[in-house]
């Protein structure tokens, strides 16, 4: 009985905060637009009883999902989002791994401070930090001024409002999510394993490749998923730092919802995005579970 109760708590939580909202969104995605409040039909009207329920379900259809396949904007946006998410994850890994490695190698008394520095940006609003990047990357921004002062370039680089700025923004924002799991894997690494590898004939580099990398694999996988999953649906960064040519599904969704007031199509976009994300989420959970089993 006690066990049942304990298990039911997280399930109720999921039911209330995930499943019910999802069913509502799914329902909207199967509806039609209407000039009304809320802007879609049908509405479930329980006062007419059984007939009402029947006509309600009769009015639902997959029209909006068919529409998503007909206009190439949507699949292009999905593909472009995937592409941006994949490359951002890769860049975040390339930047984050050395940072995590350096943190794990740092003297014990420094580690807490370094960890603090990684987490510190979270103390200011995410929006403000993205706006700050606009100030840095714009044509009259700090970066261009600095480079021109150095004489490296003669005319300003155009970074803001291009995909470059989106990559910079995503990598910057999600870097801590890459660093922390890798750091926690590297910190646990027993230094004598590397000595053993060297003792058995490895150079420093091969020891790193054959011991450090495989033993931080779980951290790398966790970090990649933690960056990839939010990056694919990212909306704020592409709309603030990206240009008109930056196509991301989060932005499309926003525009359908607020500019076109087409809630049903926006809902359909969201449902498809969720279905796409379910695959990496399941893979991520599998990895976590495997790690837990290995530690036992």
């Amino acid at each position: 009985m006690r066990r049942l109760f304990l298990i039911s708590v997280p399930y109720l939580w999921l039911l209330a905060l995930f499943l019910i909202p999802f069913v509502i969104v799914l329902k909207i995605s199967l509806s039609d637009t209407a000039l009304a409040i809320p802007p879609y039909t049908p509405q479930l009207d329980l006062t007419t009883g059984w007939e009402g329920i029947k006509s309600f379900f009769g009015a639902l259809d997959f029209e909006n999902f068919v529409w998503l396949t007909e206009d190439d904007l949507y699949w292009k946006a999905y593909v472009s989002s995937l592409q941006i998410a994949v490359f951002s994850t890769l860049f975040a890994l390339l930047v984050g791994y050395p940072i995590a490695y350096a943190m794990a190698q740092a003297p014990e008394q420094w580690r807490a401070t370094l960890m603090m520095l990684i987490i510190l940006p979270f103390w200011t609003s995410f929006l403000i930090r993205v706006y700050a990047w606009m100030g840095i990357l714009s044509q009259e921004g700090l970066l261009n001024q600095f480079l021109m002062w150095l004489g490296v370039i003669n005319e300003p680089l155009i970074i803001l409002n291009t995909n470059k700025a989106v990559y910079i923004g995503i990598v910057y924002t999600y870097l801590p999510f890459m660093i922390l799991p890798i750091y926690s894997a590297l910190e646990k690494l027993d230094g004598s394993l590397l000595e053993a590898a060297e003792d058995l004939g490895c150079s420093r580099f091969t020891a790193f490749w054959l011991v450090t990398i495989p033993l931080s694999k779980n951290g790398i996988i966790a970090g990649c998923f933690l960056v990839f999953i939010p990056a694919i649906g990212e909306f704020v960064i592409p709309s603030l730092l990206g240009g008109s040519s930056t196509l991301m599904i989060g932005k499309v969704l926003w525009e359908e919802f607020f500019a076109n007031l087409d809630w049903p199509v926006a809902a359909a976009v969201a449902v498809v995005l969720l279905l796409i994300l379910i695959i990496p989420i399941i893979l991520f959970q599998r990895n976590e579970q495997k790690q837990r089993e290995a530690e036992q």
Binding site: D190, S192, L193, E195, A196, A197, E198, D199, L200, G201, C202, S203, T206, L210, V211, P214, L215, K217, A294
Partner: protein, 375 residues
């Protein structure tokens, strides 16, 4: 058939495999190894014994190449090791924590060092199988390190470090994590393997029993210095200092002043009004010099009457009896409050024991039972 005793250190024509020449190692202001010179010969089982922090692990890590001497030279097979990185030394180490690669199977762990040598595949398979057989691990080849027991892990670590057939194998507290019974078994296994493979072993340990059991020579270390290097029996019977005598086994140390009585005979005055102890030593002491007599408890006889003809006999009172099953240790108080431990084998059942608490007894030992030490 005569059996030659293995003692290359007594043969002046023998060239040592390892030579420490005036080696000093400092970490900041801390001196871990202090101007140390020592030879170790091929096929030796050399034990570095000492309390933690005495520098024994630093010595081993310098042999493996993980530390470089601050001053002095280390030669292995005549070659100066100063600029040779660990991966280019014909030296392998068995780590205290075993340092098995958790992501690799037992088989892959043992093959790890062979792969780095670019050994042909079938040769490597044969070598790994041979190592698995030697350490009786064939059944576990496919398992991961966390799926086997502590004793098995210890054998994997040994097999892995032996696989490359090193000239020199370093063992850092190899048996520390095992329980007593398993440790004793493994000690004999180690000696067996050392003999079979003909490798030179250098073992670091703080367990004196372990050092005595496995080693051909034991070096007792303290504060970055080697206090004495000798065979286990010499270390035990003829310690060169109170420190060594006290570190190895149980011992009674009695302080006194020396008085020369003959060429190699001395009287040690240990208490006013008591007959001095008589002892023989090759050491030269001046009259009136401070001296210590170190006597092992098992070398002291215990009897109800004064034994006739005993060179040293002294009367005392039994204060305490430690019963260990096979032997009993009697704590006997001598005049002047000096406590002496004497051991006797329990050949009779406990209920028929001769002595009990508060009994007046005579302790006796021979001229050569005790060592006379200057410090």
């Amino acid at each position: 058939m005569t059996q030659t005793v293995f003692a290359p250190w007594e043969d002046p024509n023998e060239t040592p495999l390892i030579q420490f020449k005036g080696v000093t190692k400092r970490f900041g202001t801390f001196t871990a190894i202090d101007n140390l010179t020592q030879d170790i010969y091929a096929r030796e089982f050399f034990a570095l014994l000492g309390p933690s922090g005495c520098g024994k692990t630093t010595m081993m890590r310098m042999l493996a190449g993980f530390e470089t001497p601050t001053k002095g030279q280390i030669l292995i097979a005549g070659q100066d090791m100063a600029n040779v990185p660990p991966n280019e030394r014909a030296v392998n180490m068995m780590f205290q924590s075993y340092a098995l690669f958790p992501h690799l199977s037992i088989w892959e762990n043992i093959a790890f060092g062979l792969k780095r040598m670019k050994m042909p595949k079938d040769e490597m398979n044969a070598r790994v199988d041979e190592m698995l057989r030697l350490t009786r691990l064939s059944k576990f080849a496919k398992r991961k390190p966390h799926q086997i027991s502590g004793g098995q892990r210890q054998r994997v670590a040994l097999a892995r470090s032996l696989a490359r057939a090193p000239k020199l194998l370093l063992l850092d507290e190899p048996l520390g994590a095992l329980d007593k019974k398993l440790r004793e078994e493994t000690q004999f296994e180690l000696m067996d393997i050392q003999e079979k493979t003909g490798t030179t072993f250098v073992i670091v340990t703080h367990d004196q029993e372990e050092a005595m059991t496995v080693a051909s020579r034991v070096a007792v270390m303290d504060d970055g210095k080697i206090m004495q290097v000798s065979t286990p029996d010499k270390i035990y019977e003829e310690p060169n200092s109170v420190y060594v005598a006290d570190f190895i086994g149980d011992v009674n140390i009695i302080e006194g002043t020396a008085k020369k009585t003959s060429e190699d005979g001395y009287d040690i005055l240990w208490h006013d009004g008591q007959e001095p102890f008589h002892a023989k030593t090759t050491r030269q002491l001046s009259d009136g010099q401070k001296a210590f007599v170190a006597i092992r408890p098992e070398k002291i006889g215990i009897s109800p009457e004064k034994p006739e003809g005993a060179m040293n006999a002294v009367k005392g009172k039994i204060i305490d009896i430690g019963y260990l099953g096979n032997i009993s240790t009697y704590h006997v108080e001598l005049p002047g409050g000096v406590m002496i431990k004497a051991q006797q084998t329990n050949t009779r059942r406990l209920s028929r024991r001769t002595f009990t608490w508060e009994d007046e007894v005579w302790l006796s030992w021979t001229l050569t039972a005790g060592s006379v030490l200057e410090r």
